[in-house]
């Protein structure tokens, strides 16, 4: 009996150790910053005189602050003025050339009492790399990439008061992302020239107003970070 108990105890300890080992899976991801600078056009009320009817276009701007303000209401977090919009791309396993993550995550990165925290907002504000055509030179060993990539990206926002979809073209710079000085992946950075359309809620009675949008989205940064999942 005593021996059986001891054997069971050893077995349990072995299983516990194996489970602990299996839970720690570290993945590397590319972390980049997004900066939106958009202008939206909407139809204002017409005006007229005795001979002429005027249809008037109104304008407003959309930058990161506006996008983060819209997301606050959806995720229930009040972000500080230091909050940033980040694009997080996985590094898929596979041989060189390493493919681009076509569906990166969008997070709001903020700080609270000195601690950094990320809020995944992809459910409300998503990004996609629709096409990526590279003109690059990639050294296989060690991995080193440089060149140009012609990318088409899209961004979609769906929150309570606003929804829009943007699509744009970018001539991106291709470089190498390193982790602890070890080259790990290929990174695209650059400015996307984008256009799109959307709508915003005027009121429950009046409904929504359509919006035409134009602007740029800057994607910058070469950080490769480890995430435990």
């Amino acid at each position: 009996m005593r021996n059986t108990v001891k054997l069971i105890l050893v077995g349990a300890l072995l299983v516990l150790g194996a489970a602990q080992s299996g839970a720690q899976n570290t993945v590397l991801k590319v972390v980049q910053e997004l900066r939106f600078k958009l202008t939206g056009y909407y139809q204002m009320s017409p005006t007229e005189n005795s001979s002429t009817l005027f249809r008037n276009a109104g304008k407003f701007t959309i930058s990161n602050n506006d996008i983060i303000n819209l997301l606050e209401g959806e995720v229930g977090v009040i972000f500080s003025s230091d909050a940033k919009l980040m694009l997080i791309s996985e590094i898929p396993p596979g041989p060189t050339p390493i493919p681009v993550d076509r569906t990166p995550s969008v997070v709001v990165r903020d700080w609270f009492q000195g601690e950094k925290f990320d809020t995944d907002v992809t459910e409300y504000f998503s990004a996609k790399v629709l096409t990526s055509i590279e003109d690059t030179k990639i050294n296989k060993n060690p991995l080193k990439a440089n060149g140009t990539s012609y990318d088409i990206l899209s961004f979609e926002m769906h929150v309570t008061d606003v929804s829009f979809k943007l699509q744009g073209f970018a001539k991106m710079q291709v470089s190498t992302g390193t982790y602890e000085q070890d080259p790990k992946t290929i990174i695209h950075t650059g400015k996307v020239d984008t256009t799109g359309s959307g709508e915003y809620q005027v009121s429950v009675i009046i409904g929504v107003k359509p919006v035409a949008m134009i602007g740029t989205i800057q994607i910058s940064g070469h950080d490769v970070k480890a995430y435990e999942e």
Partner: protein, 196 residues
């Protein structure tokens, strides 16, 4: 069961357990900047985090001074001069990239000193730094920058630079989407009720 056999089993089990615990903890990557913990969409409601300290900034003079003095002798072969020039260019690129990152961080600050720094870099000789300063001012949405930008337009003779600054002025003068929605909510709240 024989005690010797039992001891062997226990010893083997302890060894395996130690190996499983010790090896993964060594392989766990400890970085100076661990990725931030992800939180669910529910998040931490109703919390206003404090502002971060403003980073210390190197002025433009410091950037130029940081280039190392060439201590090589006057009579140097062409290859050595090329390497030195290439190293200086790489260093300059790195300094510009660092300054651009600092300016982008300033776009989130609302204090007058940060705005003053951004406005001063609008006239930086380096075009990349000038562009970064203008983009940071656009991102900030800070309309207090308009007089300083108008002054920069008046002091600039380059037509392309004038246009770039004026575009930022026009962008700042427009209402933001946040302001449009806030104004709309105020109108909706003040609208008379249909109920008697």
């Amino acid at each position: 069961m024989r005690p010797g056999f039992l001891l062997a089993i226990l010893g083997l089990g302890a060894f395996v357990l130690l190996a499983l615990v010790f090896i993964p903890s060594k392989a766990r990557i400890a970085t100076a900047e661990d990725p931030a913990p992800m939180i669910s969409a529910a998040g931490t409601p109703g919390v206003q985090p404090p502002a971060q300290e403003e980073p210390r900034l190197a002025g433009r003079a410091a950037l130029l001074e940081a280039q190392p003095a060439t201590t090589a002798p006057a009579k140097q072969n062409a290859q050595g001069e090329t390497l030195t020039r290439a190293a200086r260019e790489d260093q300059h690129k790195a300094q510009v990239a660092a300054r651009v990152a600092q300016l982008h961080d300033l776009s989130r600050k609302t204090d007058p000193a940060s705005l003053e720094t951004l406005l001063s870099e609008v006239r930086n000789p380096d075009p990349e730094i000038r562009q970064a300063a203008l983009e940071a001012i656009s991102q900030s949405g800070n309309r207090s920058a308009i007089p300083g930008l108008q002054e920069a337009v008046a002091q600039t003779e380059n037509a392309a630079e004038q246009q770039a600054i004026e575009e930022v002025i026009d962008f700042l003068k427009l209402p933001t989407l946040t302001e449009i929605l806030r104004e709309q909510r105020a109108i909706n709240n003040n609208a008379p009720s249909d109920r008697p």
